[in-house]
């Protein structure tokens, strides 16, 4: 039987398509995007740590750059990613253990609210230092 199949590559990207999807799907896509972002950050972070091997001067000049407001703004984005990914991870773990499966949407709303509040507080703290 000859059938019309979608190309593997286009199928593989379909998880990103959130049109007309519901909250659970948004949570999944957000989790994956933040996850990918955090993997990239992890390796950047590890790379930056190599500056420690080049002695105090190299490291301390990096610290000075890191305290610039532009980098601090990036830090806020990073923190948002961590909050969403971490809290949503807890939601997935809970539902995966069979806890709160029926309340998954409510849980997602709750973690988003917590993330927003925590991010606000953290941003204030970051920029006041």
């Amino acid at each position: 039987m000859s059938t019309l199949n979608y190309r593997k590559l286009s199928r593989s990207g379909r998880w990103l398509d959130v049109r007309r999807r519901r909250l659970g799907m948004w949570a999944y896509v957000l989790n994956r995007i933040t996850g990918l972002g955090l993997v990239v950050y992890l390796y950047l972070h590890l790379g930056v740590l190599s500056l420690l091997l080049r002695g105090p001067a190299a490291w301390d000049s990096f610290v000075a750059v890191a305290r610039s407001p532009y980098v601090l703004a990036l830090d806020v984005i990073l923190l948002a990613g961590i909050l969403i990914h971490g809290l949503n991870g807890l939601r997935i773990a809970l539902t995966g253990f069979g806890i709160g499966v029926g309340a998954q949407k409510a849980l997602f709303v709750v973690i988003m609210v917590i993330s927003a509040v925590a991010l606000w507080v953290a941003a204030l703290k970051i920029f006041r230092v």
Partner: protein, 333 residues
């Protein structure tokens, strides 16, 4: 086939005095056909079916069940495929191939590919249900069949476990068939010209709802999930109205019309499907000089799930195919 049947028995209930009069005749009829029908008390009937009309006068329990027509059909087809049959779905018979008055094959159009095809065969069995007359006409022969439509109304929830029937002669809206999460009220009966083009008369739907309430008053409180009408192939008898026609089946060898190589089986209902198949197979064997005993009575059916598996494509991921082996066309969007 127990996997495809809800075997919960059925109830025939009397609501009017006239129904009550019918009771003895009904019980005698059941006994004559060796159907173990027995009268149960009204209180017991109401305990078994709490939504039943509390005003019923009598109730008779009979062995009955509810099936899934589609899966039932697939199970037959899967078993046939397993035994070597080729099933051409989405293929419309556009014409019969004839040599003189005799039928020698069929011309079909595959609606998936749009291709026309001529199949030469030893014998054509016309089992087209309500379309049997239309097919037979292509061979220039007649079949005394009337496509008769009936309206059914499915409710948004299930109100009964047993099949509920009005204890009387068949009439409109005298049965409520429960299935899964619905109760289906049936049915009306009127002859149609074209089985493909049935318009549901709104008054038939209303009649189902009002008649259904005689059996289960709660029917009026439940939203309607769906309404449908399909044509059944009924065999015409002169001087009998559509409503009164029985659901018997008949097998016609069109040799009687001077046409060889063409047999029609029509009438009947799903309950008698296997018997119909046996009768027509026997006729086919006789005509083709094959001496074989029909084994369908003792042949267990395959799982309906096999039907698609036998004919569908293989899963490419499992055969280790590199990349996509499709037609190579990308669907936009």
């Amino acid at each position: 086939m127990p996997d495809l049947l809800e075997l919960n028995d059925g109830l025939f209930v009397a609501i009017t005095e006239a129904d009550l009069v019918f009771k003895d005749r009904f019980l005698q009829g059941c006994a004559a056909c060796h159907v173990p029908a027995r009268e149960i008390s009204v209180e017991h009937a109401l305990a078994v079916e709490p939504f039943l009309n509390p005003k019923i006068l009598a109730a008779i329990q009979v062995p009955d069940g509810v099936f899934e027509p589609f899966r039932f059909c697939l199970a037959f087809l899967a078993t046939a495929q397993e035994n070597g049959a080729t099933i051409r779905t989405y293929s419309e018979v556009t014409d019969l191939l004839c040599a003189g008055k005799n039928v020698t094959g069929v011309r079909i159009r595959d609606q998936h590919t749009g291709k026309q095809e001529a199949l030469k065969v030893d014998l054509v069995v016309n089992a087209a249900g309500p379309w049997a007359g239309e097919i037979a006409a292509k061979a220039g022969v007649g079949v005394p069949e009337i496509p008769t439509a009936g309206v059914m109304v499915a409710l948004d929830c299930r109100l009964n476990n047993l099949v509920l029937n009005r204890l009387n002669k068949p009439s409109d809206g005298d049965i409520i068939v429960p299935q899964r999460a619905t109760s289906v009220i049936g049915t009306t009966s009127w002859a149609v010209e074209n089985p493909d083009l049935i318009t549901i008369p709104p008054e038939h739907v209303d009649r189902m709802i009002t008649q259904g309430q005689q059996l289960i008053p709660a029917v009026k409180k439940v939203p309607m999930r769906a309404k449908m009408a399909v044509a059944r192939p009924l065999i015409a008898r002169s001087g009998i109205a559509a409503r009164e026609l029985s659901r018997t089946f008949e097998c016609f060898d069109h040799e009687r019309d001077g046409t060889n190589g063409f047999v029609t089986i029509t009438g009947g209902k799903t309950t008698t499907a296997r018997a119909m198949a046996e009768k027509v197979s026997d006729m086919v064997c006789r005509k083709l000089d094959i001496s074989a005993e029909c084994r369908t009575r003792d042949t267990p059916l395959c799982s309906y799930r096999l039907f698609f598996q036998q004919r569908g494509s293989r899963n490419q991921s499992f055969v280790g195919a590199p990349g996509d082996r499709s037609s190579g066309r990308e669907c936009f969007r």
